[in-house]
């Protein structure tokens, strides 16, 4: 059954998507405001589950590409992604029956909602990353054989570029990135045109709902003066992600940052309140690996997110500061994100981490007894 997005679910989804962004992905706030504005104008967003789609339905993924810091200054006019969608439709001679997020973590959870409202098509409750990743080839759609091309990238002027790199999704990413910089550092894209059957086979299902459920669970727990982190763990347990654990409850004692090829790379060091070993998290826009002492406790693509201790709100890598009281959560990812093909694209090696991939539930199982 499809459902209509309410203002409340929008707020919850944005909060949950920030947690699923694992430190990157851009603050969903400006995206949320754009959708809110569309809803205030009387437009609607219908969310459909993947299994409600016909196998021969035609679906196009939509997103913002580039720097989230640009999007909060050069605000969107709200039609950029629709322009990309329409031009891709015209190029392919087919009309999209629905749009779908490529990335459910961060700002890009919101853009397809805006497209759905402004283009009058439903949004599918699924995505291609299951979190936030920095590049367009890092999508399950591509991992499982769908071509990202043809892709259309557009700006606020209605200018657009069609990119067709055949089945080379890495090339597509580099071309689109170059155009995005010329468009002012942020652009809006339509990509990975595919059938309903393709999406059911290659997409990560119900990730928008999971974001909403995480956001709602935390909001309701806080209103009831209950433990918001316990509510988060419970919301994850009810999903295909399944497992969430506290990697640390403590404070940030050091943050180092540097720029590496357009990425904000760095390391945050945290001291647990109970006086145990320090936890470090290495990040490259997103959090990549968490270690307790020398021991790895969570690895990309599993989710590592730093949360404000009291509110359980996600803290992006850009906003980490000495002295913050935080909880670090590790969340397991569904099987579709952990196959050898998937790990080839976004496993630890893809982010320069020299450690074989091990699921977070295994890495932390021996530690659970020591955790709060």
């Amino acid at each position: 059954m499809s459902r209509r997005l309410t203002q409340q679910e929008l707020v919850d989804m944005a909060a949950g998507a920030a947690i699923m962004a694992t430190g990157g992905g851009g603050d969903p706030l400006v995206g949320r405001l754009l959708v809110q504005q569309a809803l205030d104008e009387g437009l609607t967003v219908d969310i459909v589950a993947p299994d409600e789609l016909d196998d021969d339905a035609f679906v196009i993924s939509t997103a913002m590409m580039g720097a989230p810091s640009v999007v909060v200054e050069k605000l969107a006019n709200g039609n950029e992604a629709v322009t990309s969608l329409r031009k891709l439709e015209a190029h392919l001679g087919k009309t999209a029956d629905a749009t779908v997020p490529m990335e459910c973590g961060g700002l890009n959870s919101m853009i397809p909602l805006l497209v759905a409202a402004r283009a009058g098509i439903p949004v599918v409750d699924a995505d291609g990353m299951g979190r936030a990743f920095p590049e367009l080839q890092m999508e399950t759609f591509g991992v499982y054989g769908i071509s990202g091309s043809p892709l259309v990238v557009s700006d606020e002027k209605g200018h657009s570029v069609l990119i067709d790199t055949g089945d080379d999704n890495v090339r597509m990413e580099t071309f689109a990135r170059a155009v995005t910089i010329q468009m002012g550092g942020a652009s809006f894209i339509a990509e990975y045109p595919m059938t309903g059957a393709d999406l059911k086979r290659t997409g990560i299902p119900h990730t928008l709902s999971l974001a909403s459920q995480i956001g709602r669970a935390i909001r309701e727990a806080r209103a009831a003066h209950a433990d918001p982190f316990a509510a988060l763990v419970e919301a994850v347990a009810d999903s295909i992600y399944g497992y969430a654990t506290s990697l640390l409850e403590g404070k940030i004692v050091d943050v180092e940052r540097s720029i590496v090829g357009g990425f904000t790379a760095g390391r945050v060091t945290l001291a647990p309140f109970d006086g145990g070993e320090l936890l470090t998290i290495d990040f490259r826009n997103e959090n990549v690996v968490a270690r307790r002492g020398d021991q790895v406790v969570a690895l990309v693509p599993d989710l590592i997110t730093v949360l404000d201790l009291e509110s359980c709100a996600a803290i992006t890598t850009e906003a980490l500061r000495f002295g913050q009281r935080v909880r670090v959560v590790g969340i397991s990812t569904p099987e579709i994100m952990r196959t050898p093909e998937a790990l080839e694209v976004w496993g630890p090696q893809a982010f320069g981490v020299d450690h074989p991939w091990v699921p977070v539930e295994k890495l932390t199982s021996s530690l659970t007894s020591q955790l709060p």
């Binding site: 754009l34 504005q37 580039g66 050069k74 605000l75 002012g184 357009g262």
Partner: protein, 519 residues
């Protein structure tokens, strides 16, 4: 000699400083007309010190007038905001998300026209003069008396905002124009909101500046007047008329800087304990650390500079309860009723002040009235209060090293002689007028905050450029060039963008050339 005056919501504090020494200090009640409270306070300073007021070299005034006008939604000008940036930005028009009562109070009108820049300084669209002036014509025809201009990426390239100002001034001389790049930093909605608030305060700023000048001149003081800003520096009256929003958080800033001055420290945590809450802030290089994120003012998201202050529910009037879950302190307080409700004053409510008296930390009211308190209650409450204070101080620290703590405020009797995160707890004299002292010791500053391209190996050169710009701005604001220091440098790389674009923020401060007393 410098006079510092802090006009708060309740009290007007004033001090006269000479060469770093407090010659006289006084506290009077704030009056609705502002100026008579100032006249009374300065008159008392003259009596107390015997100083000839014509020898005063500057008068520094901190005031809550402007922020109160916004809070009360009173005395605000009808205001229009014109955003330059189409076709970008139409998805979120100006004034989006503002509380209705404030939009009504400023008769808010919003317009969007072409213009704006990209992050690298290229134009989004050319500015269209006629389109802009049409918007201005409409705004004024609909009753606007003040105009705010925001242009996309104006902190990177202010050209369009400046052209817009000129165009409006030549068609409508006398209409105040507020430019967003002079108010806030990157983040269009927040900067634009701050500019609109500033625009709505312009006519009040003109009136207040005139009233302050008249009051000071009537006292026989010829010296220049300055007004305290959020960041601990001061601006002259011409700036005050143009940038009233810069005064919004000057109260806590002056209090922190005053406390630091009194203790002789420039790197410390200031703990200001009142009746209901404790405000904790961190001073670095003698200036409060600024809040990194957006700040909401009356439900409006803004991004002008505010001190990073943490408030916790612990004060002299905090209620103490001893129940099945142990002893708790606050966060609720008897507030101003402490003189009647606290046990030591014969009341029925157990407060944090009663605990301090029972523990022998303070001699207030009648200690006999709390002599029979259970030791477990007193010890439990003391340990709670210590936990709250230690935690809050710890959160404000910027490194793991122990830090000096300066305790001020009427409730500072609650601060233990030693705190885990503190190397030393200082309790300066005269702390009751720390606000006015903070105003009196202010310097002038200049600041840069924009995106720079940093080619490989050029980081130092780019930083030098940014520093020079900040210094030039401090000089433009009136600082004596030889006295200028860089007090803050912050670099944040932009994520997901190749080319090493870095947002650099530099702040420079210096002394006013008249050679006033400095901290």
């Amino acid at each position: 000699m410098i006079i510092g005056i802090d006009v708060g919501g309740t009290n007007t504090d004033a001090v006269i400083l000479d060469g770093g020494a407090v010659l006289a200090a006084t506290k009077t009640t704030t009056t609705p007309d502002v100026t008579s409270g100032i006249t009374t306070a300065v008159g008392r300073l003259r009596e107390m010190s015997g100083v000839d007021l014509s020898a005063v070299s500057a008068v520094m005034i901190g005031t809550t007038h402007f922020v109160n006008a916004l809070v009360e939604a009173q005395r605000l000008s009808p205001t229009a905001v014109i955003r330059l940036g189409l076709p970008a930005g139409a998805g979120l028009p100006p004034l989006v998300g503002w509380p209705e009562r404030i939009v009504t109070a400023i008769s808010g009108q919003a317009f969007m026209v072409h213009g704006g820049h990209e992050f690298d300084g290229r134009k989004i669209s050319d500015l269209r003069q006629e389109e802009l002036l049409d918007a201005v014509d409409k705004a004024l025809a609909n009753g606007a008396e003040s105009i705010a201009i925001s242009s996309i990426y104006s902190p990177v390239n202010a050209e369009f905002e400046l052209i817009a100002e000129d165009l409006i001034a030549s068609r409508y001389p006398g209409i105040p124009v507020t430019l967003s790049h002079q108010i806030g930093r990157l983040g269009l909605l927040e900067r634009e909101n701050a500019a609109v608030i500033n625009a709505a305060l312009r006519s009040l700023a003109r009136d207040i500046s005139a009233a302050l000048t008249a009051a000071v001149r009537d006292l026989g003081i010829d010296a220049p007047l300055f007004v305290s800003q959020n960041d601990g520096t001061v601006m002259d009256l011409d700036f005050t008329r143009r940038y009233p929003v810069n005064t919004f958080a000057s109260g806590p800033t002056n209090s922190m800087r005053g406390a630091a001055f009194l203790s002789g420290l420039s790197e410390c945590v200031v703990v200001d304990v009142g009746g209901t809450t404790t405000d904790v802030g961190m001073l670095q290089n003698g200036y409060p650390r600024e809040a990194a994120l957006e700040v909401e003012v009356e439900g409006i998201r803004t991004n002008f500079r505010m001190p990073d202050v943490l408030s916790v529910g612990l004060g002299g009037g905090s209620r103490v309860r001893d129940g099945i879950h142990g002893v708790t302190v606050g966060p609720d307080s008897v507030g101003y009723r402490i003189g009647a409700d606290a046990r030591v004053f014969g009341g029925q409510t157990l407060t944090a002040t009663d605990i301090a008296v029972a523990a022998g930390w303070a001699d207030i009211g009648d200690a006999a009235l709390v002599a029979k308190l259970a030791k477990s209650t007193v010890d439990g409450a003391l340990s709670q209060m210590r936990d709250i204070l230690e935690n809050t101080v710890d959160r404000m620290r910027t490194s793991a090293d122990p830090v000096d703590v300066v305790a001020v405020g009427g409730g500072s009797i609650l601060v233990p002689a030693e705190l885990a995160s503190a190397s030393h707890v200082h309790r300066p004299e005269n702390f009751a007028v720390a606000n006015a002292i903070g105003a009196a010791i202010a310097q002038v500053g200049g600041e840069v905050d924009r995106i720079f391209g940093v080619p490989a190996g050029q980081r130092e050169a780019v930083l030098d450029t940014a520093k020079q710009e900040a210094v030039d701005r401090a000089i433009a604001a009136g600082a004596a060039p030889s006295s200028i220091q860089i007090v803050e440098i912050d670099e944040v790389p932009l994520a997901y963008l190749p080319g090493n674009a870095v947002r650099i923020r530099v702040k420079a401060v210096g002394d006013l050339p008249m050679g006033g007393t400095k901290g």
